[in-house]
Amino acid sequence: MLRYFKPVIFLACLAPLARLVWLGFHSRLGANPIEVITHSTGDWTLIFLLVTLAITPLRKMTRQYWLINYRRMVGLYAFFYGCLHLTTYVWLDKFFDVHEMLHDIAKRKFITAGMTAFALMIPLALTSTKWSIRKLGKRWQALHRLIYFSAAAGVIHYIWLVKADLRKPLEYAAVLGSLMSYRVVAWLVTRKQIRLRQRGLSDVGVPEDNKAATLSS
């Protein structure tokens, strides 16, 4: 059963796209299909980014260390849906008008944020191979922390886009916030442990001295 799990998850991650295609072919995307496609691919980009970020906390808290085997796939799906989302903008919204797109990126805050989020995903997707991980060593992990900024830019992109109802973007912000808080707390705890251990080593010396003093008296 476990053997088939990865392909199942792989296919399940394609379901949001399959759904759009299916609805599209059955004229069920509503009055403004392009808007539905744009919003849906944007939503799924954010969801996959957040799921990617959830894997580390989840595997540590539940001790299900095998979850790490799915992180790359989920992360690449975030990039995949991000590409689709960007394509709807470039093609269906701007019709490849480069001049207008550059104008948008410079002038419209929400486009700037969205483009930033996407641009930050590119190096992560490119260095997702085993070869890159080996080649980059420790720097790989540092590089892949860019996902924090990509997800943050993605959420800001959404917040700046909506007219009045901030509920949905703030839900994403709350999830991202808790995933990041976990990391901050984990980092603080680790730092404290290291400090304690360092102090612990010198602490060991004190009772030893005391013991010696007691013995000699």
Binding site: A12, R28, G30, A31, N32, W66
Partner: protein
């Protein structure tokens, strides 16, 4: 020596060894099962669509209007299932469903402020004031999409003339019903409720300004603003208040809901203007529902001949 008895663990509470040894597999299978359920639910929603029956009473004796465009009208299903009606929901496909039980009779409209005599009229008294006309108008949303709708109603001026505003009246304000038991969107403070819109008197008296109670030959569907709304084709859609319960004449400029919510982004006038961008997006082009390519947005939504003179000498960048 006191030896404590070990706490009781019922044998049923002890995890079977096989399950313990296979706990990862168990979790994986549990995750897979949940995924399958989620996908199943998604498929069901795709296959069994939630549909809303359109039930509208025909309106008799509708006259044609010289103000109608000859452009192709947007399918009725789109106009009734793509609604920005935050009193019900901020999702455009939801008002159709959520407004099905909205009560539009009995319906009173209070007419007050700077008028000779304050009135409370039933919506049917108002509808009988003049004969219904069909006005096929372009309708442009501030979000960048547009539709063409065969509205039914008569010029707002017909009502204004009959209620005698005093000479002090410079503006007219429209208020939408406040009733969160019927309008679930009002339970959330997305905007300040009730929804308020307004017009300058000369704008309100312009023959294009329509007091509307029907569309596509029938009474207005609830999700499109029944029983009474206004339609102002040269302005962004949010100016066209729905489900009106109060019409008040004032000396001071009314504060409309969207301007109150984001004064930098939405003004009092909100005239369709391709040269003045929304601070966050361009207004140069629009997507007509049903069309693949975007089309250029027209000044005053193409109604410049009728309304441009209202704004002579005004800086439309400042008075947006």
């Amino acid at each position: 020596m006191l030896i404590k008895k070990a706490p009781d663990i019922r044998s049923s509470e002890i995890t079977p060894k096989s399950l313990y040894l296979n706990r990862r597999k168990f979790l994986a299978e549990a995750a897979m099962a949940s995924a399958a359920i989620a996908i199943g639910a998604g498929l069901r929603e795709m296959i069994v669509p939630s549909t809303t029956v359109l039930a509208g009473n025909k309106i008799d004796g509708i006259k044609k209007s010289q103000f109608s465009t000859t452009e192709t009208t947007t399918p009725q299903k789109d106009v009734t299932h793509y609604n920005n009606y935050y009193e019900f929901s901020t999702e455009k496909d939801e008002p159709a469903e959520l407004a099905t039980k909205f009560r539009t009779r009995p319906w009173k409209v209070k007419i007050d402020g700077l008028v000779d005599k304050k009135l409370e009229l039933s919506v049917d008294e108002i509808i009988k004031m003049a004969s219904p006309e069909e006005r096929i108008y372009r309708h442009r949303c501030v979000e960048g999409w547009s539709i063409v709708v065969p509205w039914i109603g008569f010029s707002l001026s017909e009502l204004i003339k009959r209620v005698n505003p005093t000479s002090k009246a410079k503006y007219v304000e429209f208020t939408t019903l406040l009733d969160m038991t019927q309008m679930p969107g009002q339970r959330r403070n997305v905007l300040e409720w009730p929804y308020v819109e307004g017009l300058r008197m000369d704008e309100a008296m312009n023959p294009l300004a329509l007091l509307c109670f029907g569309m596509y030959g029938e009474e207005l569907p609830n999700q499109d603003g029944a029983p009474l709304r206004i339609v102002l084709p040269w302005k962004y859609g949010f100016k066209s208040a729905k489900a009106i319960v109060r019409i008040r004449f004032t000396e001071k400029e009314p504060v409309n809901s969207w301007k109150l919510s984001a004064p930098r982004e939405y003004g009092f006038y909100a005239n369709v203007n391709p040269n003045v961008d929304h601070p966050r997006w361009s207004q140069a082009r629009e997507r007509r529902l049903g069309e693949f390519f975007k089309r250029p947005t027209l000044m005053f939504n193409g109604y410049g001949d009728q309304v441009a003179s209202l704004y002579n000498g005004m800086d439309l960048r400042k008075e947006f």
